[in-house]
Amino acid sequence: MTSRMQTVRRVSLAVVRKDLRIEWSSKVLLNQVAPFSLVIMIMFAFALDNEGILQRVAPGLVWLATLFSMLVIVQRSFAVETADGALDALRVAGTEPLGIFIGKSLALMVQLLALELMLLAIALVLYAVEPTAMGYAETFATMLIATIGLGFVGTLYGGLGAGARGRETLLPLLLLPAVAPVLIGATRATEAAFGSGGAQSSEGWPWIGLLAVFAGVFGAVGALAFGPMIEE
Amino acid sequence: MDHASFIIGSYVLTIISVAAYAISIVRRGRKLGAITSDDDKPWI
């Protein structure tokens, strides 16, 4: 058992380093996904042409933009694996699926967190949001825990698209309903943190609890289901 | 009866959609049943 845990540790470290290195050298997040989410945020401002409304709905927009961008990152994360048959090679190598799952989830979480920080900064500037110090703490806690859940669930469903080749188009249909609790929980918690619509910052913590439950459930399920999911 | 169109409409809608589904299942079943051997029909 301990040797298996060591293998999982080694594989997940190798995978997360590899994924982040690929991102570092290809800069897809920086050059494509981040501008994409910026465009989303600006388009929202066009669609909801009213300063009062924008301030009120800013938390929801940040999280919607995060979810849409996440679809792109997840697809990219698995496109890297299938481009030259690396996923096949990983499977043939009998690489511990749990290690792959943890590694890819961690890499996804790091990328998502970077993106969310950027979106937060955009919201502060474009939507004129002014949280308190407590509000900032709550916002960061929300981001951290929501991202853990999103990383697990994104990797889990992304694996299905990769195992069944050429079926990436199914990803949004499967993934978006599954992350609805994150959208609800994170948006409410961020509203509390931003004080949107007169919300108190203490109202946010139960939602952060919901996000933690979500992360725990999908972390556990992903650990079990990811292996069979990436099989052909 | 008040709102007869809504009420009868929902009954009709329910029954028609279920019936259409049932008929399509039975028809497809007959069509495929004709071209498969009885070994593939363990319910017989």
């Binding site: 080694r10 380093r17 290195r21 890297v80 030259d84 090679a89 499977r91 043939v92 190598a93 052909e232 | -």
Partner: protein, 215 residues
């Protein structure tokens, strides 16, 4: 003689197309078997079935005593597969690629260096991104990744393709030495001249079946 691969009447399906239509194949330890046949004969699928990647639809199969129908996942630790694609990450450098594969199996830095040296991708090439390599250099990189895996059954799909003569010689030497230390090799190729010299047995594959064999 110990049996490494045993397939009987194996049918394998690629999206409703029977790539294998009932293959019977037995491979013993220490053999170098060449699968030879036209394009689309099913050579690649035989290798993928043996690697536990492609599920068996009908028939029975086992590799090193592992039943491929029920436990195809557990055969993989002992096989090394080089497919059509190289399994490289194009955005990473040669060293990063080989090191990644090494770290997933727990091989040492030393083994990585040795493998890269053998495939002659250590010097200038070591820090070039895989996307900028030529086809032959990528093949060398993939072979180096395969060497660090220390497999006991080598499954190679067109391994000589894209390699220059020196690279082909090196590959042959590597396979010979692997076999002499107890490994078994199955390779698929339609370029037979070179492979025939290497192989201890040639098996003809056609139409998803074994259509003949020669020694």
């Amino acid at each position: 003689m110990e049996t490494v691969v045993e397939l009987s009447g194996v049918v394998a399906v690629l999206s409703n197309f029977p790539a294998l239509a009932g293959i019977d194949l037995v491979v013993h330890r220490g053999e170098i078997v060449l699968l030879h046949g036209p394009n689309g004969a099913g050579k690649t699928s035989v290798l993928r079935v043996c690697a536990g990647l492609l599920p068996i639809e009908r028939g029975e199969g086992s590799v090193m005593g592992v039943n491929l129908r029920t436990h195809r996942e557990s055969v993989r630790e002992q096989v090394g597969l080089l497919g059509h694609s190289n399994g490289l990450y194009l955005e990473l450098t040669v060293t990063q690629n080989v090191s990644f594969w090494a770290s997933t199996v727990g091989a040492t830095e030393q083994e990585v260096a040795l493998a890269m040296q053998r495939m002659k991708i250590d010097g200038r090439l070591a820090h070039v991104k895989a996307s900028q390599l030529s086809a032959g250099q990528r093949r060398r990189c993939a072979l180096a990744s395969l060497i660090v895996r220390r497999a006991s059954l080598w499954l190679l799909d067109e391994p000589h393709a894209g390699l220059d003569t020196a690279g082909q010689d090196e590959l042959d030497a590597i396979l010979q030495s692997a076999v002499s230390s107890g490994a078994t090799v199955v390779l698929a190729s339609h370029e037979t001249q070179r492979s025939r010299l290497l192989a201890t047995r040639v098996v003809k594959v056609d139409g998803g079946l074994i259509s003949g064999s020669e020694s």
